[in-house]
């Protein structure tokens, strides 16, 4: 096939749009490289390792009987002075055994566990948290507040490792690393585990380096009392991403938000695609709401905060609009194919070639970051973009061997591997970038049927977990455009988290 540079403005424009599609991947790659430099800005030189402020742990709980007993016991056994840690569980009018479990916990740990009950519940996590925060801030005992979820289990040193950063008065909030730890590990958890390693162990380190954090971990965030009071003493209740709002408010007030990858805790993530979809749809819709609210801070340098950092802005928006980038690249490539095939071939090679190398770099780096995740989630890491995309990457990286393979294998399957077949395959590949999201949505629909559900793990490997997340983002665009209600959906947890 002939290749040539574009001959007119339309060709150049379309080629540019194709290459723009690689921007999100490029931003991630820069993030991995920044993460490798984390020691230069990890904040570990400004901590006091022996600092142990009085910490009030606030846990919102609605029908959490399955998980609460375990997490309370683990919390009481942490490597932190018992007289400096209080657990405040806000029971959001639970109708299961939650009140009884908390009554027993109060009896066993007098003065260390407090059960607050809201008689009228169901307003959502932020309202429940605010009930607890109001109580905690009513006296001056708490020097820091740890906000977490009922199912999150902290490793013994996690709270101490978070608290040490508060020795720096510039720090307003610290977050730990949430590890996916479902027991036994399930296929979806392996994808989420790898995704968390990428999003937290790599990207949050990168965000430490540039000095701007996108979002405090909902299940492991410690706020200094001063910061909490400065942002109004309460959590935002107007969006579905209250953690992100707290993160923004903290940084806009001139305080740093720090990620400590060694402050580790374990959480159980959804075991079905349908449950994961519901959770991620809420997150994606929340992010759209937050972006709208804080749109004026991006790409604008400020003396108060680093949220205007260019890389931070690119990674924020390329994550938020990743499906749009993919559809744009795909549409431009197909259009270019019909306008001028030579430049289409060049744009395709550049786009996919760069994507392939960036995929390899990112995957190797993230798997090197954590041995347990590498051991458990290597297959998920490999199939994260989907087997179909992996075949395309192989074709781009090793065209001659793959051509020989196709010429050998395909005739045996009754396919004549000629110029026409190549054209059809190439057009299919160009379109796949967009079609993968549609395919991912169909897999989600399949997960809701009893007959097709057993096939879902194989289908996700084929289509890719990445396209599934993109499809959720598209669903969030649609929900927001339709003006869907801002209501909180609880993510069901079973309490099966590894204990070590």
């Amino acid at each position: 096939m002939s290749t040539a540079l574009p001959t007119d403005a339309v060709g150049w424009l379309l080629s540019g749009l194709v290459l723009l599609g690689a921007l999100p991947m490029a931003a991630s790659t820069i993030g991995h490289l920044l993460a490798a430099l984390h020691r230069t800005r990890d904040h570990l030189d400004r901590v006091d390792p022996a600092l142990q402020p009085r910490v009030a742990v606030v846990v919102p709980a609605w029908n959490e009987a399955a998980v609460l007993e375990h997490s309370v016991e683990r919390m009481m056994a942490l490597d932190y002075p018992t007289d400096r840690l209080r657990l405040v569980v806000v029971d959001d009018a639970s109708t299961d055994a939650t009140p009884a479990i908390l009554a027993e916990a109060q009896r066993r740990y007098p003065g260390r566990v407090l059960h607050l009950r809201r008689e009228r519940g169901g307003q959502g996590k932020a309202h429940t948290l605010n009930h607890g925060l109001q109580h905690v801030l009513a006296d001056d005992w708490a020097q820091a507040v740890l906000i977490t979820d009922a199912d999150v289990v902290f490793t013994p040193t996690a709270i101490g490792r978070m608290a040490r950063h508060l020795a720096d008065p510039e720090v307003g909030a610290v977050m730990g690393f949430i590890r996916e730890a479902s027991d036994p590990p399930h296929w979806l958890g392996r994808y989420v585990g790898y995704e968390y390693a990428t999003a937290q162990l790599s990207m949050r380190r990168a965000q430490n380096v540039v000095g701007a954090q996108a979002c405090l971990a909902g299940g492991a965030q410690m706020l200094s009392r001063g910061n909490l009071e400065a942002i109004g003493g309460r959590i935002d209740t107007t969006t579905l991403a209250e953690d992100t709002v707290t993160t923004m408010q903290t940084q806009l007030a001139g305080r740093r938000v720090v990620f400590d990858p060694h402050a580790e805790c374990w959480a159980e993530e959804p075991a079905s695609l349908a449950a994961l979809w519901k959770q991620r749809l809420r997150w994606a819709r929340g992010n759209l709401q937050v972006t709208r609210r804080f749109r004026s801070v991006f790409f604008r340098p400020s003396r108060q905060h680093r949220l205007g950092n260019p890389w931070f802005g690119v990674i924020w928006f390329s994550t938020l609009y990743l499906p749009a980038f993919m559809i744009l690249a795909s549409a431009a490539l197909v259009t270019l194919w019909f306008v001028d095939r030579g430049p289409a071939q060049i744009a395709f090679q550049l786009y996919w070639g760069a994507s392939a190398l960036m995929f390899v770099l990112g995957t190797v780096f993230v798997l090197l970051l954590d041995r347990r995740i590498a051991r458990q989630s290597w297959w998920a890491a490999l199939t994260f973009p989907g087997v179909v995309n992996l075949v395309v990457l192989a074709v781009v990286l090793a065209p001659a061997p793959m051509e020989r393979l196709a010429a050998t294998v395909l005739p045996g399957l009754g396919v004549t591997w000629d110029e026409h077949a190549r054209d059809v395959a190439l057009l299919g590949v160009y379109l796949w970038t967009s079609l993968a999201m549609l395919a991912a949505w169909l897999v989600y629909r399949a997960d809701r049927t009893r007959v097709l559900r057993p096939l879902v793990p194989a289908l996700v490997a084929l289509v890719g977990f990445g396209p599934v997340l993109c499809a959720v983002t598209v669903a969030a665009y649609v929900a927001q455009a339709r003006g869907a209600a801002t209501t909180w959906d609880k993510t069901e947890k079973t309490g099966k988290v590894r204990a070590s």
């Binding site: 490289l33 490798a36 022996a50 490597d79 770099l361 780096f365 001659a400 061997p401």
Partner: protein
């Protein structure tokens, strides 16, 4: 400031270990870049 906490873990030793782990990230980044570069070179010279 080298107090031991309730379980006998030394916070200063933990901090030292954490700093070492962060320093090691640089080598991991170099390995990842090297793998990608080698693949890129193979694509350019051998597999075209």
């Amino acid at each position: 400031m080298n107090e031991r906490t309730t379980h006998g873990l030394d916070p200063t030793a933990l901090l030292r270990a954490d700093r070492r782990a962060e320093t090691a990230l640089l080598a991991k980044g170099v390995v990842a870049i090297a793998v990608a570069v080698v693949l890129g070179l193979m694509r350019t010279w051998w597999w075209v």
